[in-house]
Symmetry: C2
Subunit: 348 residues, 2 copies
Amino acid sequence: MTVDRNDGNEKILLAHGSGGKAMHSLIRDVLGPLIGIEDFNDSAVVPFRIKDSNTETMNGRLVFTTDSYVVSPLFFPGGDIGSLSVNGTINDISMAGASTLCLSLSLIIEEGLPMDALMGILGSVKKAAEAAGVRIVTGDTKVVNKGKGDGVFINTSGIGLVRKGISLSPKNVISGDVVILSGPIGNHGVAVMAERNGLTFDPPVLSDTAALNGLVDIMLSHTPEIHAMRDPTRGGIATTLKEIALEAGACIEIDEERIPLTAQVRGACELLGIDPLYVANEGVLVAFAGKNVAKSLLNAMKGHPLGKNSAVIGRVTGGPERTVLLKTLIGGTRIVDMLHGELLPRIC
Amino acid sequence: MTVDRNDGNEKILLAHGSGGKAMHSLIRDVLGPLIGIEDFNDSAVVPFRIKDSNTETMNGRLVFTTDSYVVSPLFFPGGDIGSLSVNGTINDISMAGASTLCLSLSLIIEEGLPMDALMGILGSVKKAAEAAGVRIVTGDTKVVNKGKGDGVFINTSGIGLVRKGISLSPKNVISGDVVILSGPIGNHGVAVMAERNGLTFDPPVLSDTAALNGLVDIMLSHTPEIHAMRDPTRGGIATTLKEIALEAGACIEIDEERIPLTAQVRGACELLGIDPLYVANEGVLVAFAGKNVAKSLLNAMKGHPLGKNSAVIGRVTGGPERTVLLKTLIGGTRIVDMLHGELLPRIC
C-alpha cells in the first residue's frame, strides 16, 4: 500500500491497526509524508529551553507519548482498559529512559455505557496510577451516540523527563550486545483472546499489564551500558525485534529455548493456532546491553518483581543486517519477520 | 446525578459529553473523586525541575492538555476534524498563557474508512499545524471494527511552556475587570449543525476553527493586566462565562447588544431554535483584563486577523457572586446558566 497506488477505493482495514506490516506501511506511506513524523509507535524526545527569574536559561529534554486504547473486551483476566491505558503509556515513557512526570486521560464514551462499568474502569485507572506513583493531571470526556463507539475508548498521553546522560535508541545497538527479556511472553494477548472467545484456562491466564517504570529505574541506575529498550506490545516480540533490527541495521539472533514462556501460554497458543512470538505483551521489556554487564544487570533485574524471570534470550551479531534470526527448539534457524495481517485486532 | 444516587442502572447519556451541566456533574461526582482531578476541561499547569551538566537545577512550569475530537460529520463548512483537533488543542494551551512546544496525534479509525478521507483529514492536520507554527512530534494509530467507531476520532494532546511571569486563572479575576470577546460567536456550531441537517446558507456559515496562539502572543506582549482567558467551545459563551463566574466567585454582567454576532448566525439560530450564547466556537476567546488597559488591548487585538472584531462585551461587578447576568436587547436582565442537556452533541 502506497499513496500513489491508492486508486480512490482503498479503505482502512483492521490490519492497519494491528501493529504489523500493514500498519507500518500506513505510517510510512500516508502518515509520515503528510504529518512529517516517521514513527507513530513510540515516544518523541523534545528539547526545550527555560529561563529563570535572572534570565539564565537551561536546556532540557522531555519525552512525549500518546496512545489510544480500544481493547475489546473492556474487562479481561488480569486487567481492564483502565489499568492497560495507564501502564501502557508509562511504559512508552520508560522505554525512552525517562521518568514519568504526568499523564492525561481522555475518554470517548459510547452512549448507554453503564455508569458502574465506567466507575470500575476509572477505579482501575486510579489504582494503576497510584501503584506506579504517577499523577494524572488533566483529562477530557466525550460521548458518542450508541452504535458509534464500543463502550469506552481511552487515550492516555504522558510527559517524561529524560534522565541526565541517558540516551536510549535502537541506533545505539552494536554487535556483541546481549538481548534481555524481562519476563514470560504472550500473557496479555492470550488473556484477551481467551476472554473474547469464551475460553477458560485453569488456572486462568492473566494479562501481564504492569507499569515497568520501577524496573527501568533499577536497570538505568545499575549501568550506563543499556543501549535500547522497548516493550513488545502489538505484534509481539517478533515485530519489536524486527523493528529494532531495521532501525539499528543489525542482525539479532534469538534462541527460542531461552524465551520465557509458561506452559499455559504455550498450550493456549497451540490451541488457538497462534505463534507466541507475535502475541502482545503489556508488562515485559526487551533491553539491549553491553555483554560485559549482562550478568550483573540480569541479577539486578531479578531483584524486582517484574524482572524475576528475566533472561538473556539472544545477541546482536555480525550476521545479515536488518534481520532477526531464531534458533528453533529443534535446532534449525528461521528468519523472523513482522506481523502481517490481523492476528489479534484490538488487543490494546 | 451523584455517585451515591447511582442505583446500578444508570447509563451514560449524550448529554454527559455536551459540555453542560450533566458533564460537569459527571466530572465532579464520578471522575473527580475517582481520579483526583477536579477539572477535566482545561489544561493543567505542571511544575518540574531539570538539572544541567553542572548539577545546577532550574524550575519550570509546563502546561499539559488533552482533547479527543468526535465531531460529526468529519467534514463541515470551514474545516474538518483534522483542523479542529490541531487548533482546539493549541487554543487550550494558549488560554493558559503558554506557548505551544509540541502536539501529539492519535487516531482511532473505523474499519472501512476510505483512504482518501483519511488523507484529506491528515492534510488538514498538516496545514493547521503549519499555519500555527506548531510541530506534531508523536502519534498513534488504532483501528476498530466497522460499526464500533464513526469514521475517525482524533486525540490531540499538547505541551506548552508557561511564559515567564504569566499566571492566568479565573481566580485572578477581580471586580472592575472588563470582559473582551475576540470575535463573533456561534459560527462553528451553526456550520456543523447545518451540515448535519442538510441546511445550506448563502453565503455559507463557516466554522471559525483557528489557532489563537498568534493573537494570544500579541495580547500577552501588550499588557500584564490580563487575568484570565478561555475559549468558549462546547456549551458556548454562556457556559464558559458561568464556569468563570463560579471559579472566580464573581458576578459577570454582559450586554447582549455588544456581543459580536453575524446576521447569518443570528438567522440560523432562530431557524434552528437555538440560543447563540450556547453554541460552540472554535476560534474566539474571552479575556478578563484590568479596565485601564481595555482600550489599548482592544486596539492591539484588532490588529490581528482573528481579533479584528474584538469587543468589550461586559464587566465584572459587585453583583451576586457566582452569577452571570445578561442585559438583553429589549432592556431586561436575565440570569445566564450553563448548558443543560444535549443541545449539540458531538460538536467537537
